[in-house]
């Protein structure tokens, strides 16, 4: 097991998480209610309460390299039930942002799917489901993803072959451009 030197707690990391999430991580007293309710615990490498603890201990590397932050489904059960009113789901979100910015993507497919989705939105203004699936398969190399579903889905006309482009497509595109140019730091 990994041994943490408490003195090496990265205070900047703690402060950054607190500032970006607007949550006071010190108020967590490790009751475990977030973990108790979290439906995703079975795929996590660290439970939500452990993530919270690791943040309190300033263990940036462990947190941002964890799979858990990518596998959180933002279902809000932790936030809803926290006795200290911490928006835990938002902290998980913020950790994901920080991991992405620092180039960690422990759950590659999860990241790639999000990327494909946003590329689709950027291109068409709306999410084009068939297109983004193709994009995801191309980027992830996972050729067989949901292939078994294709006949059912296509038969029920659930995946139109044409995107629904919108007039203001360029407006949406510019949102992404400005974002990439660093127009928003939060």
């Amino acid at each position: 097991m990994r041994i943490y030197d408490l003195a090496t707690a990265e205070q900047d990391f703690i402060a950054e998480v607190a500032a970006r999430s607007h949550q006071d991580v010190r108020t967590c007293y490790q009751c475990g209610n977030c973990t108790a309710g979290c439906p995703y615990t079975f795929v996590y490498d660290y439970s939500v309460s452990q993530i919270m603890r690791l943040i309190q201990l300033g263990q940036q590397e462990t947190v941002l390299r964890s799979k858990s932050i990518w596998l959180c489904g933002s279902c809000q059960s932790c936030t809803t039930r926290c006795p200290n009113r911490i928006d835990v789901a938002k902290i998980m979100d913020v950790c994901r942002h920080m991991a992405r910015e620092r180039g960690y993507a422990t759950e590659r497919e999860v990241k790639l799917f999000a990327d494909s989705f946003l590329r689709s939105v950027e291109r068409h203004g709306r999410a084009f489901e068939l297109g983004l699936m193709v994009d995801y398969v191309l980027h992830s190399g996972k050729v067989f993803t949901d292939l078994d579903l294709a006949p059912t889905a296509l038969a029920r006309r659930k995946l139109p072959f044409q995107p629904h482009p919108i007039v203001g497509r360029d407006q949406v595109e510019r949102i992404f451009q400005r974002f990439r140019q660093g127009g928003a730091h939060a």
């Binding site: 007293y29 009751c31 475990g32 108790a36 615990t41 660290y46 439970s47 309460s49």
Partner: protein, 661 residues
């Protein structure tokens, strides 16, 4: 005046961030100050001797001590100056600890602030007048509000001490929460076996008058002389005659009355004695479910009662008593766990409170002491206990620890194993709080001897599956989620202030804290006193407490009462209002606004109306002083001139021209 000023270091508490020598030096320059020095601990024996010596050596007639809050040591130093031969009101304090050194770190600013506060105190002192207290007679009787174990203890101790006691209880019987318990920790002795004899003592003690089904209607007066009106609610049974034979209970055809004593696990006959050991053991009718009261016919109880004590026309009765002291022992209520929607909000009958579980365990309870779960009466094999339901949880505004849930949960886990040897208990806890004699050993026994599985974590949700309840929680020590299928879930609900405490607090002028518990006069040194003289606290009305602590406080409150009532006369605080008759125009505005009726209009020898203060009734609030435009009525020690002097000391009029004139 010849004033001496003493600046306290309070060790480093003050001297750490205030230059006390500089303050003393500056004080020497203040008007009328002839002596100033600093002292390590002004309140200590040498500190006080130093003050007395200085008074004598420098012929002082007034003393200012700059130290901690006057709410702490003003009485101490008043006694000191009295010992030095001065009137105790020729003394002022400047609070340079709580209001200066403890709240700011900037020594320069603190020193200036402390100096100004001393100057303010000196200016006030220059306008002080020697005051002499009046004496008045004490009513030698005590009112105890609340007949739980704390109130019972206080009542018995006061009565044994020779004082008359009036004990008022809201419910039909005394005994409080403790009477509902099956066993008590950490000895597992029978609760009613311990409490029962004390309840009987209350009933039999010649000095105790007991009013149950009664509440305090109003309170007036002051320490030594309270007038209390008690409302005795109609019980529709003449308790003078009722023998408690219980025949009516057996025959009553309306058996669906709510049963608060059994925590609503079952219903009760409409005419009822709540439990076999009830004191007084008298029946009362619930008018809500009584067929006679609702529909005008039935009257079966009246027909069969051997002593003919049923009285359907009985009304509430008001009783007035004079008492010299009041003990408040109104206890607590349980947190309403329905605030946690994730525990089902009552949709699952097999999720119950810990107190309901006590009734299931109790031989006098609805199941005769056999653990049967409410839904289907089956004996549960897997019992899950969830701690901290409504404790240590900010999201439901209950951030405090209720103190004794860890212990009673351990007890219940042990008793569960005793009752059902092939059962398994699981206890979800956050931390185990068991500081007390033989307490921690007790929780260890629950785990080690009785095999209760303790799981460190909260429970996020309970949901039914088949005839069981799935409890999903966390085990933070294992670092993951856990689930267990339970037959019965017991919520260790936390403690909150008794419903109705706020209303009673208003009547008694006892202040509740933000959670509704009554505030003691000092958290360490005056734990059973309140800020209203003559009113004392006992038990959980002051904060969560277990039985030994409640009993100890009951005795402590009784000791305070006895020390008060042993005196035949009390001194009244001379900081009361005083009228200058020549200035009074007799308009009566002060009479109109006085909350205590302490001012009356009398005629002077020319027949002109003039206000006059009844010194023993006046409480010294000063509302009248502000009401009187000509300043004819002044609150001693807080006169207009004294407060103005403080204002002027802080805001000396400055010459400054802002506008071209």
């Amino acid at each position: 005046m010849r004033i001496g000023v003493f600046i306290c270091h309070c060790g480093s508490n003050i001297a750490g961030t205030v230059d006390v020598r500089a303050v003393a030096q500056a004080a020497k320059g203040f008007a009328d100050v002839v002596y100033a020095s600093d002292t390590m601990y002004a309140c200590s024996e040498p500190g006080q001797e130093g003050i007395i010596q200085a008074v004598r050596e420098h012929n002082l007639d007034g003393v200012v001590v700059a130290s901690c809050t006057p709410r702490m040591h003003e009485p101490t130093f008043r006694r000191t100056v009295e010992r030095a031969g001065l009137n105790r009101y020729c003394f002022e304090m400047a609070n340079i600890r709580e209001h200066v050194s403890w709240i700011g770190k900037d020594t320069e600013r603190n020193t200036i602030k402390a100096t100004e506060l001393v100057r303010m105190a000196v200016e006030k002192l220059r306008r002080n007048r020697p005051l002499t207290p009046k004496r008045f007679d004490v009513t030698k009787r005590v009112l105890v509000v609340g007949g739980g174990v704390a109130g019972i203890q206080a009542a018995l101790d006061c009565a044994e001490g020779g004082q008359e006691v009036v004990l008022v209880e809201r419910e039909q019987s005394i005994g409080g929460k403790m009477a509902k318990l099956d066993k008590t920790f950490p000895t597992i002795d029978c609760s009613s076996c311990v409490l029962g004899p004390k309840m009987v003592d209350v009933a039999q003690h010649p000095k105790i008058t007991l009013h149950t089904m009664a509440e305090v209607e109003s309170v007036s007066g002051y320490v030594g002389n309270f007038q209390v009106t008690i409302r005795k609610k109609a019980r529709f049974v003449d308790w003078e005659k009722c023998t408690g034979c219980g025949l009516c209970m057996e025959k009553c055809p309306s058996r669906k009355a709510p049963d608060p004593f059994n925590e609503y696990l079952c219903t009760a006959p409409t005419i009822n004695i709540p439990f076999p050991q009830a004191i007084p053991k008298k029946a009362a009718i619930n008018p809500e479910t009584c067929i006679m009261k609702q529909k005008g016919k039935c009257g079966l109880c009246a027909k069969i009662c051997p002593v003919k004590c049923i009285d359907f026309d009985q009304q509430d009765e008001l009783v007035t008593v004079d008492v010299g002291a009041i003990v408040v022992a109104t206890g607590y209520d349980l947190f309403d766990w329905h605030k946690y929607p994730q525990y089902g909000q009552g949709r699952y009958p097999d999720v119950i409170t810990s107190l309901q579980y006590e009734r299931l365990l109790s031989a006098s309870g609805p199941t005769g002491g056999h653990i049967k779960r409410p839904s289907d009466g089956k004996e549960p094999k897997t019992v899950v206990f969830i701690q901290c339901v409504g404790s240590r949880d900010r999201s439901v505004d209950r951030p405090y620890c209720s103190g004794f849930c860890c212990m009673y949960t351990a007890k219940q886990a042990i008793l569960t194993k005793d009752h059902i040897p092939d059962s398994q208990s699981y206890v979800f806890y956050m931390d185990i709080r068991s500081p007390g004699k033989a307490y921690d050993e007790f929780t260890r026994r629950a785990m080690e001897e009785y095999g209760a599985q303790y799981v460190r974590g909260r429970v996020a949700m309970i949901y039914p599956k088949g005839d069981q309840l799935i409890v999903r929680g966390a085990d933070t020590l294992a670092g993951t989620q856990v689930e267990v299928a339970a037959d019965l879930v017991v919520l260790a609900v936390g403690v909150e202030a008794a419903r109705g405490a706020a209303v009673l607090g208003e009547k008694l002028r006892v202040v509740p804290d933000q959670y509704g518990f009554f505030v003691e006069s000092h958290p360490k040194l005056r734990p059973v006193e309140t800020n209203t003289a003559g009113v004392f606290l006992a038990g959980a009305c002051q904060g969560p407490k277990d039985i030994p602590a409640s009993v100890a406080q009951g005795s402590a409150a009784a000791a305070k009462v006895l020390a008060l009532l042993v005196k035949d006369q009390l001194e009244s605080d001379p900081q009361v209002s005083r009228v200058t008759p020549a200035r009074c125009v007799g308009c009566g505005k002060c009479v109109q606004t006085c909350p205590f009726g302490a001012i009356k209009l009398v005629e002077d020898r020319f027949g002109n109306p003039k206000a006059e203060v009844v010194e023993t009734v006046c409480q010294g609030c000063g509302i009248c002083t502000v009401t009187c435009p000509q300043g004819a009525i002044q609150l001693e020690h807080f006169t207009d001139n004294q407060i103005l002097a403080e204002v002027q000391a802080l805001c000396p009029p400055r010459i400054r021209v802002n506008y071209a004139s």
